[in-house]
Symmetry: C2
Subunit: 431 residues, 2 copies
């Protein structure tokens, strides 16, 4: 331990302390705090919009790209939607205090497994002011402290929003110190080292950014770097469904992590399917890159090895003709990122084999990969999509922000009674 | 990617391939393989015991400590118990294919969350030949491949056991290549780098050993380095229960991770309780080290700061007199390792506060910390005890060796139907 602590360590420890108090509050107190935050944000709307205008002017002067600018800009309706989002989080079921196991080990010896907060979340995101409101709301709802660091371009907006959040919390039972905003980029590096005080890092940003975070911390990271998703159109596919799903999965939002990058087509239907799907994709403005056989059937650019490993995040689609289901599974096992993989087929045995065999967080049959999303799954909120093997995997809602502990209540019970000669047996009866 | 792969990478990739096949087998096939392994181990009993005798002679010549020697030695009854353990694992409920969520997102669009294997486990353990049988059985049951590395002193025993396991698997549907044994210590370092092929590391050994593993891999590690557990005896404690629990928690198996290292005693009952518990502990051969007030009430060694941070794993107990519940909670928050913490009190409000406030995997009221154990919890098997904040936390059974995936089955459903003007609403109806 260093003799003098940095100001960041002091701040993070203060959040950690406040989080312990927050963790002890009941759902009513946490929900009341969220309402107070929503009211304070409404009251501070003029200040928040003014701060955002200054951020936007600066960003325009610095030549921020249009997509980043779109995320930075807060219109009155976008701010109102974000405030409505805070109230929606308040309306979600309480993720804390859920009993997941309830078992009588012996007379008067009762085991429970109960959900509880993680502690402190570290959330690092781009210049998206609305993220501050969403993250603060999710943290309060789940009983966790949070350290937020947004992109520099949004610094005034984030500060104005955080000031309103703190004012709201000051009128509630939740300690305002449970949510803190970092302003200096250099603090990210230091934050990633504070595994003693920070329990989960949630990065939101580009693949490269997430990979950097994953490679530079020992704190668990929720999220994914890559979303290289495939759609396999089987020989037994209904071609109309296959075309509609291909177009949706590629074009409905090409920059999304659950959009497809590669289309695998069974050789047995390639000559009929490829010209049709190519026409539909071209009409939607999609550039096609195919292997030799695909190029033979439909004129398109010849794909290189790099095309099977690239997440385009754009209106580009790689196409490969495969001999059979096994070849498709092999391609997915080799190049997939474990995010979302889909098959189109009317053959139930083939579909079952695909659903069983593919090792990915989301495996779909006869529907678009774009459904891989916490809101579409009905989770109410999405904290991120994880491609880790270990749970939480896939779209993660509030349950990703809680853990559990085992509580055992006895009446003087000791282990010696259940050991050695004359050991009492356990009952292990679920209640 | 290196141009030439090391022999270890080739072996691990082969296990990974075999694990994909293993993952596709149903419960009957996996259980039949476990029975075949048990039969093969029974048939090979003379060879296994002979190999173990050679390991033991060598170990005696090298002056292995008695406790390590006890773990190395395989008696006929210990081997028979381990083989019975393989059959017990076969009898456990199947951890795979469990549907954890079943939801209709819309007509004909059905979401399921289904458990599935992790992939490949890397298990590194001390010179305990029985661990090979247990780990192989747990891996096969959970549909995972496994790479095993045991302590050098048990190398002949482990090889003889592994040969029998492979012979048993050869008569089953499980590919024998799904379970592999490493023989060279240097391979551990390399194994820890193979995050692309190994999904979970399970270290079994000393605190230092686990810490080394945790600090030298990016693969998730299941387990815990420290088990610094406390027992707090409240002012409202029943002193007879408190004495029995203290003695059990300290002496029933002092080297266990769930044994207590520090006893916290409320000031209000210290003068009555301390002499009684000290007498009981002394009779059990426990050396006491107390803070100034404890030493004042009962003659014992004065504790230093190091005593609050030391996991003795021995018949030594540190004792601190605290002003109240808050002081006890503060001490536990500062020095606890998040493993198991317990309170003795007849005051329900105090107990509730303790169960709620203490941040540890296991939090107990009026019972011994020694109950923190997968078998005692009724999990049927214990893979390890995790002190991570994130799940799986606490004693981990077979569920710690599986993950899940989301399966979504539609009939041509696309996301565009649920977006923009005229968007269809989701139903999100649990089935």
């Amino acid at each position: 331990m260093p003799v003098t602590e940095s100001s960041l360590v002091q701040r993070v420890k203060a959040v950690h302390e406040c989080a312990r108090l927050l963790a002890s509050l009941d759902a009513a107190a946490r929900n009341q705090a969220l309402e107070a935050v929503a009211v304070a944000l409404e009251a501070a709307t003029p200040e928040i919009l003014a701060a955002n205008r200054t951020d936007c002017e600066q960003a325009r002067a610095n030549g921020l790209t249009p997509s980043l600018y779109a995320r930075l800009e807060l219109s009155p309706s976008k701010l109102a939607a974000a405030i409505a989002g805070v109230r929606q989080v308040a309306a979600l079921p309480d993720p804390l205090g859920q009993r997941q196991l309830h078992r009588q080990l012996d007379d008067g010896l009762i085991l429970s497994r109960v959900t509880c907060p993680l502690g402190v979340l570290g959330v690092i995101f781009e210049a998206r002011p609305d993220a501050v409101m969403q993250i603060a709301a999710l943290a309060i709802k789940s009983g966790n402290g949070a350290i937020l660091k947004g992109g520099q371009e949004a610094s005034r907006s984030c500060q104005a929003i955080m000031q309103a959040i703190q004012q709201g919390l000051a009128t509630s039972a939740v300690p305002a110190g449970a949510i803190a905003l970092l302003m200096r980029r250099a603090e990210i590096t230091e934050l990633l080292q504070l595994e003693e005080w920070v329990d989960l890092i949630i990065p939101r940003g580009s693949n490269e950014f997430v990979r950097y975070i994953q490679n530079n911390t020992r704190i668990p990271v929720l999220g994914h770097a890559d979303g290289l998703c495939h759609l396999y159109v089987d020989v037994a596919a209904d071609l109309d469904k296959a075309i509609a799903i291909t177009v949706d999965a590629k074009t409905q939002y090409p920059a999304a992590c659950n959009a497809i990058e590669t289309l695998l087509v069974h050789r047995g239907i390639a000559d009929e399917f490829l010209p049709k799907v190519a026409a539909a994709l071209s009409q939607a403005g999609v550039e096609l890159r195919g292997d030799a056989l695909a190029c033979h059937l439909v004129p398109m650019t010849l794909a290189s090895e790099a095309d099977w490993t690239t997440e385009y995040c754009d209106l580009i689609l790689a196409i490969k003709v495969v001999a059979n289901l096994e070849a498709a599974l092999e391609h997915i096992a080799t190049y997939g990122s474990g995010h979302t993989e889909a098959i189109v087929t009317e053959n139930p045995a083939t579909a079952e084999r695909f659903l069983q065999d593919v090792d990915a967080a989301n495996v779909f049959h006869n529907c678009s990969t774009r459904f891989a999303d916490g809101f579409r799954y009905g989770f109410g909120a999405e904290v991120g999509i994880s491609t880790h093997k270990l749970p939480p995997r896939g779209p993660v809602g509030l349950e990703g922000l809680v853990t559990y502990k085992y509580q055992l209540v006895g009446d003087g019970h000791i282990v010696a009674s259940y050991s050695g000669d004359g050991a009492k047996p356990f009952q292990h009866r679920d209640l």
